[in-house]
């Protein structure tokens, strides 16, 4: 094999989460009461538009989660097979041209030259202060000043066309699928979608997807010949960093939830249902954890981990692995600080449900505690879980940036929006301002968080229009 797969812990957990979501979807597919609220989510225009955007992010995140190590080509065919110590993802393979395209230092988006002047000695011996040409961008242009705009537009247009072609194919497939499942002629379906007559706002979703696909192709096409978002201080491509940061953001938002969910649900249900000393104990537990300021608890945890890692470097095989462990630990400790809210909500909800007559009826039938917890209580608090998870996601993505800024976020070597902002913020004081790193990170983060917030709103409205959203 030309490579060996590497499964990082966070990868495994992400796949587990996806499998769980898939399993739930399959289970809910045939249960009307579980499907009904989701169907309502599917009718929300803003919500579905956001879902399309989230899907795009998720695809990138998944592509960035299949890791492998390439085989090192060796001259001697007999030698034992050796793999490169560098762990790459599928996304890295696809964007190899960006990863290796390292300039000397800053360059602006679509620039052909560096952002700072350098002293060069021309062949004729004179010394001049010039903006040197970039090594990896716009190299095919003889006279960037004149040719650049046309070239950028042409490349972008080609990309957009490719994107639109792919989109058209996808639309055709979707229409075919819709027509088959609805047992309608595909022309009818086309007309319904075009006039937006179906319950699900397909037209809006398709337009969103079209814009996203065309935009992605445009950027991808341009990225071969330009640094579309410029380069940073050490000359790394900002577009590459931004895209790589998607996985980090997604993982922080989802894994934290995955980590805390079992505790929050179990303890919340048990506290509310059994009451008495069990309740007292669990309440004590979460009040105590809650009373430690979140940032400080995270700081304490991360600092402890740092000390541990600094003193036991031999435990970690590779750079990627130790960064991955730090990410996981961050999720864990974020989970510890954020499970208390959900736990308290669930406890309150269970307290209410426990007094409901169907729970009493079950007791009157002699149904065991476990049966009551799993059959009567858990399904009836799931809406709280969904709403909280959806609302928490965006908060966690935003928190990552702040924590990384404070220095207790993900590993500084890891690509994340927080690290990008942290590294770039001092450049705001430069004259002229280096703004592209910040803007790229903020824009990508904003789009993800906004989409997540809008979808969370739709989910909340569908599952429980009365539940108050606590910030």
């Amino acid at each position: 094999m030309p490579f060996t797969p590497v499964v990082l812990t966070t990868d495994a957990l992400l796949f587990l989460l996806l499998a769980a979501a898939g399993g739930y979807a399959w289970y809910a597919r045939r249960r009307e009461h579980l499907r009904a609220p989701w169907r309502q989510v599917a009718r929300s225009r803003l919500g579905m538009m956001a879902a399309v955007v989230l899907c795009a992010y998720l695809l990138v995140g998944i592509a960035d989660s299949f890791h492998l190590r390439l085989r090192i080509a060796q001259p001697d065919a007999q030698a034992a097979v050796r793999y490169s110590p560098e762990v790459l993802s599928l996304l890295d393979l696809a964007t190899g041209h960006l990863r290796d395209a390292v300039e000397k230092t800053y360059s602006a988006p679509f620039a052909a030259t560096l952002y700072v002047r350098e002293t060069v000695t021309t062949p004729d011996g004179t010394v001049a202060r010039v903006y040197p040409r970039l090594r990896h961008a716009a190299t095919h242009l003889d006279d960037p000043e004149r040719q650049r705009l046309g070239d950028v537009l042409a490349t972008a247009a080609t990309g957009a066309l490719q994107g639109i072609a792919l989109w058209a194919l996808a639309v055709a497939l979707l229409l075919y699928g819709l027509a088959r499942s609805g047992r309608a002629r595909w022309r009818t379906v086309l007309r319904q979608v075009a006039r937006d007559e179906l319950a699900v706002p397909w037209r809006l979703m398709l337009i969103t997807a079209g814009v996203l696909i065309a935009g992605a192709f445009m950027l991808a096409n341009l990225s071969f010949t330009y640094h579309v978002f410029g380069t940073d201080k050490v000359g790394q491509d900002v577009f590459y960093q931004t895209v790589k940061s998607i996985r980090t953001g997604l993982l922080i938002g989802t894994l934290t939830t995955l980590v805390m969910l079992p505790f929050a649900v179990l303890l919340g249900l048990v506290a509310g249902y059994f009451g008495r000393w069990v309740d007292d104990l669990i309440q004590y537990l979460y009040t105590t954890l809650n009373s430690i300021p979140g940032v400080l608890l995270i700081a304490a945890g991360i600092l402890s981990l740092q000390v541990y890692m600094a003193n036991h470097p031999q435990r970690f095989e590779s750079f990627a692995e130790s960064a991955d462990l730090r990410l996981l630990f961050l999720c864990l400790i974020l989970g510890v600080t954020s499970w208390t809210g959900l736990c308290r909500l669930l406890r309150g909800e269970t307290l209410k449900l426990r007094e409901l007559e169907y729970v009493q009826a079950a007791t009157a039938f002699g149904v065991r505690h476990l049966g009551i917890l799993t059959r009567h209580l858990l399904p009836n608090v799931m809406h709280v879980v969904f709403i909280t998870v959806a609302l928490d996601f965006s908060g966690l993505v935003l928190a990552e940036a702040v924590l990384s800024y404070v220095g207790i976020g993900v590993d500084p070597s890891m690509n994340s929006w927080g690290n990008m902002i942290n590294q770039a913020r001092l450049e705001m004081a430069r004259e002229p301002v280096v703004w592209w790193s910040l803007l790229a990170a903020f824009t990508f983060m904003f789009a993800l968080v906004l989409a997540a917030n809008l979808l969370a709103d739709a989910i909340r409205d569908a599952f429980d229009p009365r539940l108050r959203s606590v910030p």
Binding site: L46, Y284, T287, T288, L289, N290, S291, I292, P293, V295, L296, L297, A299, A300, G301, L303, S304, Q306, V307, Y308, A310, N311, P313, S394, L398, A401, V402, Y405, V406, G407, I408, I421, R425, M428, A429, V433, L438, F442, M445, F446, V449, L450, A452, N453, L454, D457, R466, R468, S469, V470, P471
Partner: protein, 325 residues
């Protein structure tokens, strides 16, 4: 009522013990003082003597929980647990790893923190309630719908963006106020305007949206219908009946953070160079000064519990249903 308060105060003791145990475990059991010494002195090229010295200077050379070498009570008191953790209950924070008196630093730095946090908090609540009332008044119209969308957009923007953009626009481009720094007395105001403004704007999205839900929840209640049936105007219904009821969850929800205002805001203070407790904490984290982090964790917990107790008092003051129980 008094009995209830006493109960809450007593309840604070096990919680603080819990907090203390957690920090003790994190800082002394998971990582031993030796580890810390290594971290500060470097892993390589460090002599055992240097480590012993480092520990002795900071009082980390004692056993963790039990000093077999001590005499009588000293078996328990001459330990790290007693000197570094239990002493916190007497608000004796000791010295930082760099040798400064933490208690003194805290007393010095909490006022600048409060000078930003308190105005941000008060103005924030006022602004959010005003906007939420507006949205509630225009409920189910386009003003409301787009107001909520705007709130969601504002919520989706990172705090860091507000700060950086605010500093750039107001401080750097328009030169209205200094970008960062601090001064004492009245001169402090020009340094406070920008952080307070940014803090308020940053909170508008989530705050307004949350208060709006509270208002709408109240508006659908039966007593509001009764008020309308009396012939009262919509404004009077909103201000006299809805606002008065909605203020109970709003104010009691807000009271819990009041004591914690002393702790300041980490990033605000760091960005604006305010010498408060927030920047103190950040510096401690960056310099890996565990003594300060430990002290701040304990202080934070105390203030949080104080907030909880104040919430209970606020409830009894605001809600006659609780007051007359």
């Amino acid at each position: 009522m008094t009995a209830y308060l006493v109960r809450r105060l007593l309840y604070a003791i096990p919680i603080l013990i819990g907090v203390n145990l957690i920090t003790f475990t994190l800082f002394f059991v998971v990582n031993t003082p030796d580890d810390m010494a290594h971290l500060h002195l470097g892993v390589k090229h460090v002599t055992p003597e240097a480590i012993v010295n480092w520990k002795r200077e900071r009082g980390y050379d004692q056993p963790l929980v039990y000093n077999a070498g001590g005499e009588g009570i000293a078996k328990l008191t001459e330990t790290i647990l007693f000197n570094k953790s239990i002493s916190l209950f007497a608000f004796r924070f000791g010295a930082s790893d760099t040798g400064r008196d933490i208690g003194y630093d805290i007393r010095q730095r909490m006022w600048p923190s409060l000078a930003i946090a308190l105005p941000t908090f008060l103005v924030g609540i006022l602004v959010n309630i005003t906007f939420a009332m507006l949205l509630a008044f225009f409920r189910a119209t386009y003003i409301d719908v787009w107001g909520v969308v705007l709130c969601v957009i504002m919520m989706s923007i990172s705090t860091l963006f507000y700060i950086i953009a605010g500093q750039y626009l107001i401080g750097k481009l328009w030169h209205l106020v200094p970008i960062s720094g601090y001064d004492t007395g009245v001169d402090a105001i020009k340094f406070l305007v920008l952080p307070v403004l940014i803090g308020v704007v940053h909170g508008i999205g989530s705050g307004t949206r949350w208060y709006r839900t509270i208002f709408l929840e109240e508006i659908n209640k039966d007593y509001v219908r009764t008020a309308r049936a009396k012939g009262l105007s919509e404004l009077r219904v909103l201000f006299r009946h809805v606002l008065q009821n909605a203020l109970i969850p709003i104010l009691t929800g807000a009271v819990v953070v009041i004591p914690s205002l002393f702790m300041g805001s980490l990033i605000m203070e760091a960005f604006f160079g305010i010498p408060g407790l927030g920047s103190y904490t950040i510096n401690a984290i960056n310099q890996q000064d565990f003594a300060v982090v430990r002290a701040m964790v304990f202080l934070g917990a105390v203030l949080y519990i104080l907030g909880l107790i104040m919430t209970d008092i606020a409830y009894t003051l605001a809600d006659p249903r609780v007051r007359f129980e």
